[in-house]
Amino acid sequence: MSHEDVLNPTKLPHDPEKATLEGKNKFLAFWFFLGGETVLFASLFGTYLALNGSTQGENTPEHLFGLELVFIMTMLLLTSSLTSVYAMYHMKNHDFGKMQKWLGITVALGFAFLGFEIYEFYHYIHEYGFTFRSSAFGSAFYTLVGFHGGHVLFGLSWIVTLMIRNQKRGLNLYNAPKFYIASLYWHFIDVVWVFIFTVVYLMGKVG
């Protein structure tokens, strides 16, 4: 396949993200990476669960967490997962404009989520004096949730970069795999969040 075919294909195939060998490789590699990420987050969750009760007598999960905020954050992130599915839907239909639009919405939701998360941390630190150094529980909490937040931030920067870079030239066989795996990443972030809101917040509230 010539470079011309890749960058300016006369017609996009039905699965543009997997039409080239590079695309197939990226697709597979990214899934494998997610397999590794699963272990990474499992280690963090494990640590969190092990240190869950080590609050040094103050700022227990029940006492700290407010469910309203978490619920809003969950809705934001879940919805952003759907919007990114829409984006990929349009990619498969070769409608670049609509794809960008849906990605835009995804990013906006993601930023809103991140904003709330930052607010949440700020709140804990200033209202409760609950920090990374307060107790083993504090360390574990901020590390687990913060790692997820870091993933969100990275995902957002990635998607935004892709959107800007390809704004003018539209979809091709070179960038389609990139969009696709960025959206996989985004879903994975949601997967992790599902466990975070369940294990950290809901189970924390239950006690």
Binding site: A29, L40, L51, S139, A140
Partner: protein, 623 residues
């Protein structure tokens, strides 16, 4: 954009070429040079350890320095010598064995190497900045979290950086093997080396994240005041042990499996026989990988997990003897009825069998949980793991290097010198480590700076030290062989040993940088052998002669790794002085900036034109 790799000449150009190369064969060279150097450094550290333990109450080095020495010896040997040397072999061989022109992600391949190198440099810089890490290669908390100075910080950052490189490499090889196989190369026709690299890469994928997390927690505790391992604030030191061993046990199979694969290829090549029980071998490899994840706590029998957990992990550990035994017997029966040619590569392989079997057996003895209450943290364990690591991994690396050297460099290593290096190493190896089992049982714990006089440990330690000197002699002869052969040996054939069976032997030694002029069609297990037996000269091509698409060289991997290196120092020293945060930001800036460049600048590779290839064929450098 369609020129081949820069054709400049001169040293500067050669260095630039290596700094920017994405060619798996050159990256293999880089891994070999770096890994080899670290092996010598680790070996030197081992010699210092042995000299210190030559006699009782010795004062050759101080107690603190001794702890730094063992820590750096273990860490260097495992992460900076054995793993990179294995990656050298993987890079040199896997794409050739599956009939591919490169790995799936040449750019990432180069990134993986540079990350490893900068991580390794970082660890070793600690010698010159006030003390190396000193809490053992296992770095148990709270000894590590309370270790004064910055030694342990170097351990954390160095391993984090090189670990990232390894993880990237692992994913790369997985995808390469899944997606890049030549037509006809089904999974059950893959050479055993490729198979074991596949399983190894899977282990890397699932094992390294645990280490990554462990190192992050350690970093947060040491540098940012968190309390994961600080009992005073409710932390728990055992979390580190679990994370480390969840990584650590699979790690030992990451070390040995690729060499199991290499031995399989070597035994069958030099016995002129197909591998006995191929499917069983594949199955055993997968099974070892699988079981490897369920046994980590056998390193923690004395931690106090209770009899139930200890028993479960004991039995699970013993189970691994079964697939490993299958392998041992299949190797023996590969040779059975064959025609054994005792080359240097074969000599190392043949020596591996009894050595590794002994090591494996002491492993099973260690797995008997209760008995481990006596063995644990004694020289018995040191004896065990050097038997499997030196007798398995190091012998394997030597065997594989002799075997694939012609493919990597176009010349064979001198056979006479090869055998001359073998004997002192082999004898020295058994001298050094066999006696250590007894030392352990006689009451000598490991990681002991001195042993006291009058405890009956003198003779054993002396023998052990003498053995180490023999190993040093063997190593030095090998190094000499490398230099000697580079000067004296003549160019090797494509099928350098004449009995090659797998695809790498179907192309010239060394191969052109696009490897295969035409992707070969694979018609069975041991594809080259199949063709030879059909009376054919080489492989049947699976595609017409045409332009070849190749990736572009890039300097970005080097820059990205440099960025992490700089940021690493920043993290370490910001504890003392916040001004070092500048280094953190600068390093991260370089890293993220390079990533940005990589993602916005299209890099589609280039094509090598048919005419150039035809030219190469005429010159005889391509086939």
């Amino acid at each position: 954009m369609s020129t081949a790799v820069a054709q400049k000449s001169g040293l500067g150009a050669a260095i630039w070429d290596y700094l920017t190369t994405v060619d798996h064969k050159k990256i293999a060279h880089l891994y070999l040079y770096a890994g080899g150097l670290f092996f010598l450094i680790g070996g030197l550290e081992a010699m210092i350890i042995r000299i210190q333990l030559m006699k009782p109450d010795n004062n050759f080095i101080s107690a603190g320095l001794y702890n730094e020495m063992i820590t750096m010896h273990g860490t260097t040997m495992i992460f900076l010598a054995a793993m990179p040397l294995i990656f050298a072999l993987m890079n040199a061989v896997v794409p050739l064995q599956i009939g591919a022109r490169d790995v799936a992600f040449p750019f990432l391949n180069s990134l993986g190497f540079w990350l490893f190198l900068f991580g390794g440099l970082m660890l070793n810089v600690s010698w010159f900045t006030g003390g190396a890490p000193d809490a053992g290669w296992t770095n148990y908390a709270p000894l590590s979290t309370t270790s004064p100075g910055h030694g342990v910080d170097y351990y954390v950052m160095g391993l984090q950086i090189s670990g990232a490189g390894t993880l990237i490499g692992g994913i790369n090889f997985l995808v390469t093997i899944v997606n890049m196989r030549a037509p006809g190369m089904t999974y059950m026709r893959m050479p055993l080396f490729t198979w074991s690299v596949f399983v190894t890469s899977t282990l890397i994928l699932f094992a390294f994240p645990a280490l990554t997390v462990g190192l992050f927690l350690m970093m947060f505790d040491r540098m940012f005041g968190s309390a994961f391992f600080d009992v005073g604030l409710g932390g728990n030191a055992i979390i580190w042990e679990h994370l480390f061993w969840i990584f650590g046990h699979p790690e030992v199979y990451i070390l040995i499996l690729p060499l199991f694969g290499a031995f399989s290829d070597i035994f069958s090549t030099f016995s002129k026989k197909r591998l006995f029980g191929y499917s069983a071998m594949v199955f055993a490899t997968v099974l070892i990988g699988f079981l490897g994840f369920m046994v980590w706590a056998h390193h923690m029998f004395t931690v106090g997990m209770g009899p139930i957990a200890n028993s479960i992990f004991a039995v699970a550990t013993m189970a691994i003897a079964v697939p490993t035994g299958i392998k041992i017997f299949n190797w023996l029966f590969t040779m059975w009825g064959g025609q054994i040619k005792m080359t240097a590569a074969m000599l190392w392989s043949v020596a591996f069998i009894p050595s590794f079997t002994i090591g494996g057996m002491t492993g099973v003895m260690l797995a008997a949980a209760a008995a481990d209450y006596q063995y644990h943290d004694t020289y018995f364990v040191v004896g065990h793991f050097h038997y499997v690591i030196v007798g398995g991994v190091v012998f394997g690396i030597f065997a594989a290097l002799h075997y694939w050297w012609p493919k990597m460099f176009g010349i064979k290593l001198n056979e006479k010198l090869g055998k001359l290096a073998f004997w002192p190493f082999f004898v020295g190896f058994h001298l050094t480590f066999f006696i250590q089992h007894f030392l352990g049982l006689m009451g000598m714990p490991r990681r002991y700076w001195v042993f006291l006089e009058g405890q009956g440990l003198e003779t054993g330690n002396m023998i052990s030290t003498v053995g180490a000197f023999f190993m040093a002699i063997g190593t030095l002869i090998f190094v000499y062989n490398v230099i000697y052969s580079a000067k004296k040996e003549k160019k090797a054939d494509g099928d350098a040993w004449g009995t090659g069976r797998t695809l790498e032997w179907a192309i010239p030694s060394p191969p052109p940088h696009y490897n295969f002029v035409q992707t070969p069609l694979v018609r069975g297990l041991d594809p080259l052998w199949v063709e030879k037996m059909d009376g054919k000269e080489g492989m049947t091509p699976a595609e017409p002669l045409g332009d070849i698409h190749m990736p572009n060289a890039s300097f970005l991997p080097f820059m990205m790794s440099l960025g992490t290196f700089i940021a690493g120092f920043g993290f370490i020293y910001q504890v003392d002085n916040k001004a070092w945060l500048i280094a953190v930001f600068a390093g991260m800036g370089i890293l993220l900036g390079s990533m940005l460049v990589r993602s916005v600048k299209d890099d589609l590779g280039h094509h090598i034109h048919k005419e150039e290839i035809e030219e190469d064929i005429k010159k005889g450098v391509a086939k």
